[in-house]
Point group: C2
Chain length 370, copies 2
């Protein structure tokens, strides 16, 4: 069975080649190899060829970790923490981040906090120890000591999608308050007086802000928010569906439901569908829907639906760009900024179903505020 000295597999490296291996193989000094590798200016063509041949022969690759040890060198690593990748929204954000960082020749070390601040703290500590040049975080909320500059050794931090009180860093967020306010106002204008709110935990930045918008619209219209119609704390489709089911079972059910993020809206829709089937009535005709964030197959919802949209990928891109500016390092004392992306509202009504073609316009998202 044992077949020692299998010559046919000779190329399989038992050990990773180092710069010295290459140097030996090429009959030059390690320094010459290093020079060639960094596009060296002061190397003879002969040497260069010898080195290049050996590099290929050994399949040599520089050890980035060792490189980043040298003073002045950067690791090329950026740490990214999101709360929950099962939400396609954050997958989009991550794609946007990756797009920009990839162009900037940076790699992403990635972790999911699952909305747990402690997990978030562990990830950040680890990332800092790995010499990541910067961090992009969707903060879970809660304690924030681990986000303070001392804790992260001054590694630049950018918040995406959410911010955290008491941590003054660059951030890209969404105009949650106005988006929620406008779409709620729309429902109120249509005459709805029993609007349910299904959303994130109270501790979640966006959940808080979207609720604030929801409240503001009510206040402006002089309509009270009905506490029994407010369900906050659902982070996934399943719990959102349960919450919505309870709402629909009330003696006086809501006439409209605002889903404060896409998971909550999808859950609510599932509940509506199930309840419709169970009761043999079309509840979609009786419950007006509004969603913050888009989701697949919106158009299949057989009732009136408004969606507050923004470009999640663009949000990711912008966060990465903010980070890169900090990494360039000019004006390190530049005051932090928060970029708030605008939202737009798209409404599809059942009565318009016949309308063919003409896709909703894609809009670029950009806006700055101090």
């Amino acid at each position: 069975m044992a077949e020692p000295g299998n010559e046919e597999r000779a190329k399989e490296p038992r050990t990773v080649p180092t710069i010295s291996d290459v140097a030996r193989h090429a009959g030059v000094s390690p320094m010459t190899v290093s020079r060639v590798l960094s596009g060296g200016q002061h190397v003879s063509a002969t040497m260069r060829r010898k080195v290049e041949t050996s590099v290929r022969a050994l399949g040599y690759r520089r050890n980035e970790n060792a490189r980043s040890l040298r003073p002045g060198h950067r690791s090329g690593l950026v740490g990214v923490v999101v709360t929950n990748l099962a939400n396609p929204y954050y997958a989009e954000v991550l794609e946007g981040i990756g797009e920009i960082l990839s162009e900037a020749n940076r790699r992403v070390v990635f972790g999911t906090s699952h909305e747990d601040p402690e997990e978030e703290a562990r990830l950040i500590a680890d990332f800092v120890g790995r010499q990541t040049e910067g961090l992009i975080v969707v903060p879970a909320g809660g304690p924030s000591e681990h986000l303070r500059p001392e804790q992260r050794h001054g590694v630049p931090l950018v918040f995406a999608s959410r911010r955290q009180d008491g941590v003054d860093v660059d951030a890209v967020i969404v105009d949650d308050v106005r988006g929620a306010e406008r779409v709620t106002a729309l429902l109120l204008e249509e005459g709805h007086r029993r609007i349910a709110f299904v959303g994130n935990a109270v501790s979640v930045f966006t959940g808080q802000r979207r609720y604030e918008g929801f409240e503001r619209a009510h206040a402006a219209a002089g309509v009270p928010v009905l506490p029994e119609l407010v369900r906050r704390g659902q982070q996934d489709i399943h719990s959102a569906e349960t919450a919505a089911r309870e709402l629909l079972a009330l003696d006086e059910p809501p006439t409209a439901i605002f889903g404060a993020n896409n998971r909550n809206m999808v859950g609510a829709i599932k509940a509506l569908h199930a309840a419709s089937a169970a009761r043999g009535t079309d509840l979609f005709a009786r419950v007006r829907l509004a969603s913050f964030d888009t989701f697949d197959l919106e158009e299949l919802v057989p009732g009136d639906l408004s969606v507050v949209t923004h470009d999640a990928r663009e949000l990711g891109r912008t966060a990465a760009e903010l980070l890169l500016v900090r990494l360039q390092g000019k004006r390190p004392d530049r005051p932090t900024r928060t970029i708030e992306l605008p939202t737009s509202i798209r409404t599809r009504r059942r009565s318009e179903e016949r309308l063919p073609g003409t896709e909703p316009a894609q809009e670029p998202a950009q806006a700055a505020s101090p």
Copy 2:
């Protein structure tokens, strides 16, 4: 504006503290600090306390890169390449991978290949240079030199979801062929003779296999596959929608559509919906649907729908577990294995709409084959 020597910010480190800084601060040797940090056995309580105090005072964190430089030490990094994070399917896979690796105290360096083998090669080269201990890749297909053992310096590689010819490594894939075959057979049994196929590019492993199953079912039933109903090459919802729209515009449109992955099915559904609205007829009543992979809001599809399902997160978990086995390093010459996860088929018919509650059973997925 410039306010030099801001004492209130004194704690903000201008430079990252090293083990020597801690040693100096504690009045001990760096070696003692190192010992304390690694839960050192042979340290006096006094020393330990001194060191711990200094560590906290300076906010010291070990430099993982420098650590991994030492022989025998591992980087704790695993490189993961997926083709497209915009597909929630892969986000799920990534979550599963992260779950297991996180438990094993490994971090994920992440990249998207966007189905481009060259981008994949760049990512892998970079990951190897960063001393990742292992790689988990959803291969884009195409050339595979960059996946050969020499190119990756013998770094263990595991394929997820797809495999690549000529690269003999551990893999976790789905029983694509049988899943597609069974669901196609179901449609054929129902009497369908014009079944459309909308799927991935021919070069994509799963697309290829699912098409194979599609063909096999036809062959077994003695029904010819109609080339004009086969559209292969759509990777996103938009292109899938276009392909489906063309199919529906045929003089003799298909009576059933098989979407070979969730993006293709969602696109086809959008096309059906749009065409229904445009023509004022319910095409869902005339076109039977079948999908490989689930998607949100399946139940809203107003027609008969079969879904071939498997647990994407479990697939990710399993891939990570296979990698960890290789990283343990016992029996490095152990033959590679491919784990093929079984699928199950769930069918919802319009006529059953009344059926309340009783969620479809979640099934654990496990099966091994050589």
